[in-house]
């Protein structure tokens, strides 16, 4: 299972990469595998303010549809429009082309509260 060391993880299977008070968010390779082939990702409007654990979108695969949760509080400053045409990037490259939103963090330190790779690996059982 591909779980980069440098990322933080949430219990809802989102990953988060922080850069200068901003964070890029996507879902983990484990979550993408569980969903199966992703066919659609519904993303929020730019400028929307999200609280921690708030629903910011919906991810739809051939077999189900699940909510996407903000792992930390912040304002949406960019969304990955490329997923509109190529939603399968969530499966093929979950940590690069499959990113979903970029947030300006309310609290730059909030990400430290999230799981590190070892804790997340334990959560998913291996």
């Amino acid at each position: 299972m591909d779980l980069p060391e440098t990322l933080r993880y949430s219990k809802d299977h989102e990953w988060l990469r922080t850069e200068h008070g901003e964070a890029v968010v996507g879902i983990t390779a484990w979550a993408a595998d569980e969903l199966g082939d992703v066919v659609f990702v519904e993303l929020p409007e730019i400028g929307r303010k999200l609280g921690q654990d708030e629903t910011f979108g919906v991810i739809e695969s051939v077999k189900t549809a699940s909510d996407l949760f903000a792992p930390v509080a912040g304002e949406v400053i960019a969304v990955n429009d490329a997923l509109g045409g190529d939603p399968e990037m969530v499966n093929s490259e979950p940590y690069e082309g499959g990113w979903m939103v970029r947030l300006r963090l309310d609290d730059a330190a909030a990400a430290d509260e999230l799981l590190d790779v070892a804790a997340y690996r334990e959560l998913i059982g291996g």
């Binding site: 659609f40 919906v58 739809e60 695969s61 051939v62 077999k63 189900t64 549809a65």
Partner: protein
Amino acid sequence: MVYGPHTPESREQMLAALDLDSVDRLFDDIPEAVHASGLDLPGPLPELTLSREMTALAARNRTDLVSFLGAGVYQHHIPAAVDSVLSRGEFYTAYTPYQPEISQGTLQTIYEYQSLVAELVGLPVVSASHYDGAAATAEAALMTVRATRRDRVLISRALHRHYVETAHTYFAAGTRELEELPTLRDGTTDLAALEAALADTDRPVAGVILGQPNVFGLLEPMAEAAELAHAAGALLVAVVEPVSLSVLAPPGEYGADIAAGDGQPLGIAPAFGGPHLGLLACGQRLLRQIPGRLVGRTEDLEGRRAFVMTLRAREQDIRRDKAASNICTNQALCALAATAYLATLGPHGLHDVAAAGAAAAQRLESALAKAGIERIHDAPYLNEFAIRVTDASAVHVRLLESGVLAGLELSRWYPDDPELADALLVCATELTTDEDIDRLVEGLGEAGA
């Protein structure tokens, strides 16, 4: 085969496991006032006696009437091929299967239904169908709310009253608002009132709902309404009668974002108000907002054509409380009737049906005018219009006695509107003959209308 799912023993076992002394305890949370009081049924009868009784009851139906009643349900000739297809055992079920891909034939008919309706309405996305026009209209109203994240919807008072009432029921709970738009003297929706309602930026509008033709049979200025709605960031819902779309502009052409309607005129006999068929279609942009299922065409591993349930992930069995609708069933058999009807008639045949109905309505108008009975509204109509008579209720009863169903008394739907106090809404279809028209006009004359 035993159809009852539980035996007395299995009930006892389940009650014991739940530590309850009777099944009634499971309903303790439901207020006494709304408990069903049981069915008041007569005792059993021998088959022969029952058959005589039912035959006598059925004989009370007036199947001999010359009918000018439309008002949302329209009588058309249904080719024998439609019933022949419908009654095939492979299709004869009301449901879409829950293991759909095993039923390729059923999926193919739904796919063809979607394709034919898409062609009629001029919008690319069509659901696998809903209960009826009222349910489809209410779902369309909710789509506009979800898509715009606004909660105020404007609905024309000149839309079928049952649709408006159903939408009010859907909007009764919660914070969403449904407002009725007034009509002008010519019977069409007041666009100045629409513009004023849209201008209230403190209460932004999600959707505007108009009928085409409207409840009075009149043609609404749909393109202008679409322009006004879009300028205010709202969506336009066109509630259409499908046969008319072979001669009128399709909703996709005048900018409607959603089309809803009742598919009954497409090969489904008028029968005590049901079963009907709810048509619902939208543009690509609203694909994720449309409730119900979408069937698509693909290829299997060996490259053969196959049909699949393409979109159902937003339904209740998967999304629970976040589903697009709490109704996730459809009217597969009625959708099949519509498919068979449209396929049998073809585009030219459907055009002939609509054109013949419109021509009959014009002959009806002329014959009535010659007898001194005028239309109430000035706006153009297609095959249905309102007339004013003296004492509509009495006239309606007198004509019924002589075997003519003289349309709908509009005061039943608009009791507070003096304009419509003695109005009859009459309709013609390709079934309406010149003799029928003579009987209505003569009957109206004799009744002193």
